[in-house]
């Protein structure tokens, strides 16, 4: 305590410990809030962690590279986590193989629409080239999307944010949109929800809120299979969802069991 407390800050702010700890603590808090709100899409833990950490960096005048020196240990795990997607894929192999045809068709159509629509709109809005490229993979599972963005020479951070935003908006929009469109096929709705529900948070959000018509189990499945499409066709993860509805038909009761969990 004899020293200026400021020197302690200078020391800590340059060490990986502080930023690694902060990332985990902020996420744990945001995740707890998300759980408390029954995984409401707007309480997405990733979204809130990002702005909280970002705000803290700005208030303390910490540069992003300094932060990343600590947080890189978390970031690194994205690679192994992508490899680990092989396990849910393997465990759902029967579903995947049974639905392989509709999956492939929906994969192709869904990914083309996802990519073309965003590129055309972004070009029309006059966004800079790197931004357009960063938005293009937004329908792919985030970990893979960031890999694609990097290889396109785009900006992975912008891609990460656009993937998350896409997932949140998808989760919010899907139910009213399907009602409005008069889609009553329960499997199709569940499938679409799975498609929109990028990443864990949003998929679970829909799942736990149990949006009547939107089959939660489908979404859940979609999430568990998430990443499959990206494997087959890197620029599209959307297709993932395909297996879901098919699955649901045969597993109606199991789905409800899952929701309660």
């Amino acid at each position: 305590m004899s020293e200026n407390p400021f020197s302690l800050w200078v020391y800590l702010s340059q060490s990986p410990l502080l930023w690694l700890t902060m990332t985990l603590v902020v996420y744990a808090g945001a995740d707890a809030v998300s759980l408390a709100t029954e995984r409401h899409p707007l309480a997405n833990p990733v979204l809130h962690s990002i702005w909280i950490v970002g705000l803290f960096l700005m208030l303390t005048g910490t540069s992003y590279p300094t932060y990343f020196a600590g947080a890189q240990f978390v970031h690194f795990l994205l690679g192994p986590a992508t490899v680990a997607l092989a396990v849910p894929l393997y465990e759902n192999r029967k579903v995947v193989l049974a639905a392989i045809l509709p999956m492939l068709v929906a994969l192709v159509v869904g990914s083309i629409v996802a990519i073309v629509s965003v590129v055309v709109l972004a070009e029309a809005a006059g966004l800079p080239r790197t931004v357009v490229l960063s938005l293009a993979p937004k329908s792919v599972t985030a970990g893979v999307a960031m890999g694609i963005a990097e290889s396109l020479g785009a900006d992975p951070s912008l891609t990460a944010v656009s993937v998350i935003l896409t997932g949140i908006m998808g989760a919010i929009i899907v139910t009213p949109l399907m009602n409005r469109a008069g889609i009553t096929d329960f499997r199709a709705r569940g499938f679409a929800a799975g498609l929109a529900a990028h990443g864990i948070g949003t998929a679970r959000a829909l799942c736990i809120r149990g949006n009547r018509a939107v089959a939660c189990g489908l979404v859940w499945r979609a999430w568990r299979l998430d990443g499959i499409p990206s494997i087959a066709f890197p620029p599209s993860r959307c297709m993932l969802a395909r297996n879901v509805p098919l699955f649901s038909t045969s597993n109606h009761s199991a789905r409800h069991g899952q929701r309660k969990r």
Binding site: F68, H75, L78, A81, L127, V144, L177, R187, A188
Partner: protein
């Protein structure tokens, strides 16, 4: 646990070497994923492989542990957006609107495709 995690890392490492070596425009971990998948399938056919991380649900448990916290892993990259605040101030609204429109279009296209394909398949299976 360590052995299972080593297997996952090894798959990723081989994937990276493969991708870099051949200069493929695919992320290395995606190749690692396929490799692990092949190993899991191979295990079902060759009991010789069902040991170590591939036996006793070792790699399955390690993978579930990693995937359970998948959201956390996006945060460091996402925070990188602090470097793009000027872009967001200028173009943020346009980006959000574009993403929203694209989501709606993608949802509708996917639902439509699904309905069409599943109806065609149902019809085809009635015929035989």
């Amino acid at each position: 646990m360590i052995v299972s995690f080593s297997l996952i890392l090894l798959c990723q490492l081989i994937g990276e070497v493969f991708v870099r070596g051949l200069r493929l425009p695919i992320p290395g971990p995606v190749i690692g994923l396929m490799l692990l998948l092949v190993l899991l399938f191979a295990r079902d056919h060759f009991s010789l492989l069902a040991r170590g991380p591939l036996g006793d649900g070792g790699v399955e448990n390690a993978s579930r542990g990693l995937l359970a916290n998948l959201s956390l892993l996006f945060i460091p990259a996402g925070v990188g957006v602090v470097q793009k605040l000027d872009l967001l101030a200028e173009r943020g609204i346009a980006i959000v609107v574009i993403l929203a429109i694209s989501v709606v279009l993608t949802l509708l296209a996917t639902v439509a495709t699904f309905l069409v394909v599943s109806r065609l398949m149902a019809r085809a299976s009635e015929k035989p």
